[in-house]
Every structure is written in structure tokens, then in C-alpha cells.
């Protein structure tokens, strides 16, 4: 009983339940929109959304996990930077250069054997993403350039640089990267493709591969770094209060640069994971448009309260209802209803303070009374202390 109470009182639980409350309110909001726009099918449609990835059976669940991979990674990237006091709006560019590097290695270094090939490709993606974020990091730490604007610039530079590189004559030698007939990058070598491993038995017919395992492991690792290492402790300290960190002897510049680089590496790895999914997965399209995956990371991070473990769930949840949206096409609904619901959920999660207060009230009605009492008695004690002090 006491243990239960402790769990109920923990901030983690209160935060999570306020997110759940935001999700509920967001879903209700979505339902209302559905009722207004198409009352006849609203209930059935809402059912499909709630069923989400389950609608497609094992395959659907597999696809849910597959779609969760990039948004978990960019969500981690954005969330990690937030934790350390930085707004990484440059996940898109980092994701893109990561994707390119993975594809490049996946195609060009085709003499490498299987596990080594994709591992190197992923490491390359991380490195590229990290380097891409290094610039805003250095600019912020040493030149006081707002990281928001420099990351926005780096998004576009990354996009164009990658498209330039893909089409560059120097890379035309076989095996070529660019499939001119499709305006896509070529398929990467089979040795570079992430194995599906046991997941192909669990989720037959699905694209999901060990990328999801890697993403989850990385999230757990980030949780670990943030919460269990001195390094994470320093980074978070700078994010929460740079003056106090300075007071404690932590170098702020170093923290800024490192956090940006790590955030970039996470996005870059996301790009690598997605584009090494084999012939049935995505291929990079040479299009002058910022990749949405980077921006999709922002709501995922916020919904996950910037907590790496929360981001796993937020990513899977968003993927889950996105698949629900896909199935919603069986009815006369527009898939964008899913984005509307997501937006509503995020909007209501901004009311976390209110929700938290509400939940705390619900949970600790009796404890609150106790603590109030405590307050009063301490007030009394202090006053009486003063009086005795005065009379002596």
C-alpha cells in the first residue's frame, strides 16, 4: 500500500497520467470533429482510430513499429536537446545528411560483409548528423548565435547539399547512388540492409526490422546517459540552470556543443535506420523539400515530456494512430484527421500544469490536507518561536 502510494505520488506517474489525460481530451476533440464532418460514420471511424495498428493484425503492429523508428529517433534528438536547454529545430537537416551517409556507405562500400556493412553505415549516419549539428553548437557556444536560426539554415543547407551530392557526377561511377530513372537513390547493397531477424516471425509481411530494436535500445541508452551518468548530469544541469552549473564548475560551452552533437547524431542515426530498410522500405527521393521526419520529432518529444522512455511510447503511439488513419480511408474520412487529433493532444499537453494540478488533487486529496496542516503548524511554530525569542 505504501509502495503504491509512492508510485502514485512520484512525479513520473503524475507526468505520465497528465499526458494520458491530454491524449484522452485530444481524442475526444478529434471525435467531435469527426461527428461534425461525417456523423454517419463517426463512431465506426473513431473505432478504427482506436484500433490503430491492431486493425492490420500482426502486420499492422509491425508497420506501427516501423513507422515509429524515425520519429522516435528525431523525437529523442529534439527531446535530448530540450533537456539540455537547447531547441534543436534542425533535426530535419541532420536526419537528411544521416540518411545520405548511410545510403552512400550502403551502396559504395558493398564489399563489406553483412553485419559490419550496416553497422558502419549507421555509424556514418550518426557521425554525419553529429557533424551537422556541430555547427549550430559551435555558433551558439562561441558566437552567441541563436541555435534556432542556425539550425533552420542548416536544414536547408543539408537538404541541398545532399541532393547536390547525390546527383554529382563524381558519384556516378558504378555502383551509382542515384537512380535517374526514378529520381530516387538506388537500392543499397543487401549487406547494408538491416536484418529483420525474429521480427519477421512476429510480424510477417511487415517492413519492420531491427531498426526498432536499435531505436528503443538507443532511447533506453539515452535515458541511462541522462539519468545515470555524470555526463548526463552535467548536460541537464546546464539546461536547467546555467548559472548554478557555472557555480558548480561545469563548462557551459562544452555542454552546449556536446548536446548539439549528440542530438544531431540521434537524428542522423534515424535517417540511417529508415533508409537501410531494404527494397521494400523507403528510398531517398531527390526532392527540394525538407524531410518531415525532423519536424515530426518535435511533437513526439513534447508528448513524451522530453523523457527518452516517454518518447518511445509517444513515437509508437503516434505511429499507431497514424496507421489507424490509414485504415480510416476505408470510410469517407480524410487521413489528416489524425494530425488534427495529434495537434489537439499536444495543445492540451501544454496545459500540463493544470492537468497535473488536477491529477494531484485527485490522487492526494487526503495527503494535501495533511501537508496543509503541516504548513499551518510550522507557521504557528515559527511565530511562537519569534515570540519566545522576543521575550527572552
Amino acid at each position: 500500500m505504501d509502495k503504491l502510494r509512492r508510485i502514485l505520488r512520484s512525479t513520473g506517474f503524475v507526468n505520465a497520467s497528465s499526458s494520458v489525460l491530454a491524449i484522452l481530451v485530444g481524442l475526444v476533440f478529434g471525435f467531435v470533429i469527426m461527428l461534425i464532418s461525417n456523423p454517419a460514420q463517426a463512431i465506426q471511424g473513431f473505432g478504427i482510430i482506436l484500433k490503430g495498428g491492431f486493425s492490420g493484425g500482426a502486420r499492422g503492429i509491425g508497420q506501427t513499429l516501423y513507422y515509429a523508428i524515425p520519429i522516435i529517433m528525431t523525437g529523442l534528438s529534439v527531446g535530448f536537446a530540450f533537456k539540455t536547454g537547447l531547441f534543436n529545430i534542425g533535426a530535419s537537416g541532420q536526419f537528411t545528411v544521416g540518411a545520405f551517409t548511410a545510403i552512400f556507405i550502403g551502396i559504395k562500400l558493398n564489399s563489406l560483409p553483412a553485419p559490419l556493412h550496416w553497422i558502419i553505415a549507421l555509424l556514418g549516419a550518426m557521425l554525419a548528423g553529429g557533424l551537422w549539428a556541430l555547427i549550430p553548437g559551435l555558433f551558439k557556444a562561441y558566437l552567441n548565435v541563436n541555435e534556432v536560426i542556425s539550425s533552420i539554415m542548416m536544414n536547408y543547407i543539408g537538404l541541398f547539399a545532399v541532393n547536390y551530392a547525390i546527383k554529382h557526377p563524381a558519384l556516378k561511377t558504378a555502383p551509382t547512388i542515384f537512380d535517374t530513372t526514378m529520381n530516387l537513390t538506388s537500392n543499397t547493397a543487401p549487406t547494408s540492409i538491416l536484418p529483420k531477424s525474429f521480427l519477421s516471425y512476429l510480424f510477417p509481411g511487415s517492413t519492420v526490422n531491427i531498426g526498432i530494436i536499435i531505436a528503443i535500445l538507443i532511447a533506453v541508452f539515452m535515458y541511462f546517459v541522462l539519468n545515470k551518468t555524470t555526463f548526463g548530469y552535467e548536460l541537464k544541469a546546464c539546461g536547467y540552470n546555467k548559472h548554478a552549473s557555472q557555480y558548480a564548475g561545469i563548462s557551459e560551452k562544452r555542454s552546449i556543443v556536446l548536446s548539439m552533437v549528440i542530438a544531431g547524431a540521434l537524428s542522423g542515426l534515424g535517417g540511417g535506420l529508415v533508409y537501410l530498410s531494404g527494397p521494400n522500405g523507403r528510398r531517398y527521393k531527390v526532392l527540394d523539400l525538407l524531410l518531415a521526419d525532423g519536424f515530426a520529432g518535435i511533437p513526439v518529444a513534447l508528448l513524451g515530456l522530453n523523457n527518452p522512455l516517454g518518447i518511445i511510447f509517444a513515437g509508437i503511439f503516434i505511429a499507431f494512430i497514424t496507421i489507424g488513419g490509414e485504415y480510416l480511408q476505408s470510410l469517407d474520412f480524410v487521413v489528416e484527421i489524425i494530425d488534427i487529433i495529434t495537434a489537439a493532444i499536444i495543445f492540451f499537453s501544454a496545459f500540463a500544469l493544470v492537468f497535473r494540478g488536477f491529477i494531484q488533487k485527485m490522487l492526494k486529496a487526503e495527503e494535501l490536507a495533511v501537508s496543509l496542516d503541516d504548513n499551518h503548524s510550522s507557521l504557528r511554530r515559527q511565530n511562537s518561536g519569534k515570540e519566545t525569542g522576543g521575550e527572552k
Binding site: 547536390y164 511533437p299 489528416e336 494530425d339 495537434a343
Partner: protein, 321 residues
């Protein structure tokens, strides 16, 4: 000379929407509220005003400059109304301003597509319009040598609205009671409060004006460059934020920043029509990167001292100290 006229005329298609949107952001941020929702608000403004133009043109009610001016009003009203969601979350609920801004950015394109599909009889997401708004040459003014060619040919009324907003914003911010109070709220809300300024109210106005201008920016962005609206403003809301920061939260510097950025964009996208640049034989992707790289370089030299409003992003708590 012709090339210069052309570049200046074209520059407006980039600079004016960026200017208007960044000035919008200026009002919100000067009041102390971060507004990353500019992108979303632009989409809502573009959506509702283009839908309005589409309806009016289809029903043949009226057209031309009068229609554009009415559309401007629609864009302003819808953008302003939409931004109130952000204001409510940020000001009344003391919410994290990034979260509510992100929510609006997620909502807007989805709503624009959903709305277009639900409202339009054709069920399509694009909203088309006929561009009957271009002014080949402004009467009288267009005949002025040089200036006429630079500013009064192949122009849109929205360009002049953009300039008017720049002037109005500068005056409003620096020459009126409202501006003085608004700026005080973004720098030191406790000081403003102590002399009887209602910080909550001023911040509401700040966000509202930013919504109105960003909504207008959505319309101004679409009209000269396309003949339909497809639920996107191609990241120009985020670029507007970049211009705002680049301009260090000051109207004139924002104007310069938007001209700089617009010029860079114009050169990068129209170099193939300029024989001098075309002959250099540089790949178009390099040109595409130029505006962003140039901005980074300029920032590196100008950011030593940030002029961000001191209370930016901090929820104001009356009675706190």
C-alpha cells in the same frame, strides 16, 4: 538596368511575406511570448483567404483589387483568431510556449487539407484561384523614372500593404503608447505592472497582432507565386522566425534582413536568367545553398550581443517577484 529592375521586382515575392510574418512575430515576441506557430498561422490565413477568393470568383460576386483587399481582411481575421489559441495557452495557462506553438503548427496544415476537402464540392485539397490582382503598372507612379520601374511595375497591392505595415509597425512600436507598453512587457513585465500596465492584456494584443500579420503573410506568400493553395507555405513561417532573430527584434533591421534574404533567394533562384551568373557554370544546388550560408556568415558576425526581449518566453505571474 533591366536585370536590376527585375531582381528588385522579384525580390518582393520573397521579401514581402517574410517581412510581414517576421513583423508579426516581432509583436508577439516583443510582448514576451515566443511564437513558433507563425508557420501554422500563415497556413490558416492563406487557407481561409484563398478559399474566400475561390468562392467569390466562382460565384462571380466581385474580383480584382477589391476582392484582394477583402481577402486581406479575411486572412488577417482568421490568422488573428487562430493565434488566440496560442495566446490562451501561453498567457492564461502559463503553458510552455513552444508546445502550444508546435500544436498550432501541427494543426494548421491538417485542418487546411481537411477543411478544403470537406468544404469544396470537388473534395480536393487544392484551392485554386485566378490571379486578377497583379498591377502591370501603377497609374502615374509607374511612369516615374527608375523608381517607377523598381517599385511600381508588375506589383501587387500586397507589396504596398507590406511597406505600409512596416511603417505602421515601426510607428506603433516606437511612437505610440501601445508600443511603449508592449515593449515594456517583453523586457520587464514587473516594471510594466508596477506602473499600472496590464501585462496579460498587452501580451494578448501582441500575440493577436502577430496572428493577424502571419495570417496576412500566408495570403501574400501565395498570391504572386501560384494560382492555387495546397495547404503549405513551404517553411516560410520558420524562415520568418529566422528573419526576426536575424533582424534582432527591430523593425528596420527586420526589413533589412528580409531584403537581404529575399535578394539572396532571388539571385539563387533566378541566376539562370542572368547571363553573367549562368556563364559561371555553377551548379544550381550551390546557388540554392547561398542564401542560407550567407545568413549564417552574417549571423556569426552580428550576434555577439543578443537583443532578444529579456522576458521572452517567461510566463508572467502577477504578484510573483
Amino acid at each position: 538596368m533591366g536585370t536590376i529592375y527585375f531582381l528588385v521586382q522579384q525580390m518582393m515575392t520573397f521579401s514581402i511575406p517574410l517581412l510581414i510574418v517576421a513583423l508579426g512575430g516581432l509583436f508577439s515576441e516583443r510582448s514576451g511570448v515566443v511564437n513558433i506557430a507563425l508557420e501554422g498561422i500563415m497556413i490558416i490565413g492563406g487557407f481561409s483567404s484563398i478559399l474566400f477568393i475561390n468562392f467569390m470568383q466562382k460565384m462571380g460576386v466581385f474580383d480584382g483589387q477589391l476582392l484582394l483587399i477583402c481577402a486581406v481582411l479575411i486572412a488577417v481575421i482568421s490568422g488573428g483568431a487562430f493565434s488566440l489559441l496560442h495566446a490562451y495557452a501561453a498567457i492564461n495557462m502559463n503553458a510552455d510556449q513552444t508546445i502550444s506553438g508546435t500544436a498550432l503548427n501541427t494543426f494548421a496544415p491538417a485542418f487546411a487539407i481537411y477543411g478544403a476537402r470537406m468544404i469544396q464540392p470537388s473534395n480536393v485539397q487544392q484551392i485554386t484561384f485566378n490571379n486578377t490582382f497583379r498591377i502591370a503598372s501603377v497609374p502615374l507612379l509607374g511612369d516615374i523614372p527608375i523608381i517607377g520601374n523598381l517599385l511600381f511595375k508588375q506589383a501587387y497591392i500586397t507589396t504596398y500593404i507590406g511597406f505600409a505595415i512596416l511603417i505602421a509597425a515601426t510607428i506603433l512600436l516606437y511612437k505610440t503608447r501601445f508600443g511603449l507598453r508592449l515593449r515594456a512587457c517583453g523586457e520587464h513585465p514587473q516594471a510594466a505592472d508596477s506602473v499600472g500596465v496590464n501585462v496579460y492584456k498587452m501580451r494578448y494584443f501582441g500575440v493577436l497582432i502577430s496572428g493577424m500579420l502571419a495570417g496576412l503573410g500566408g495570403l501574400v506568400f501565395v498570391v504572386p507565386t501560384s494560382t492555387n493553395f495546397n495547404a503549405t507555405v513551404a517553411g516560410y513561417g520558420f524562415l520568418g522566425i529566422a528573419v526576426l532573430i536575424f533582424g534582432q527584434w527591430k523593425p528596420i533591421r527586420i526589413f533589412i534582413a528580409s531584403l537581404f534574404f529575399g535578394l539572396m533567394k532571388t539571385i539563387s533562384s533566378s541566376y539562370s536568367g542572368i547571363s553573367l551568373l549562368l556563364q559561371l557554370g555553377i551548379n544550381s544546388y550551390i546557388y540554392k545553398m547561398v542564401p542560407y550560408i550567407a545568413t549564417l556568415i552574417v549571423l556569426a558576425f552580428t550576434s555577439k550581443r543578443s537583443q532578444a526581449p529579456r522576458a521572452l518566453g517567461q510566463p508572467y505571474d502577477h504578484g510573483g517577484r
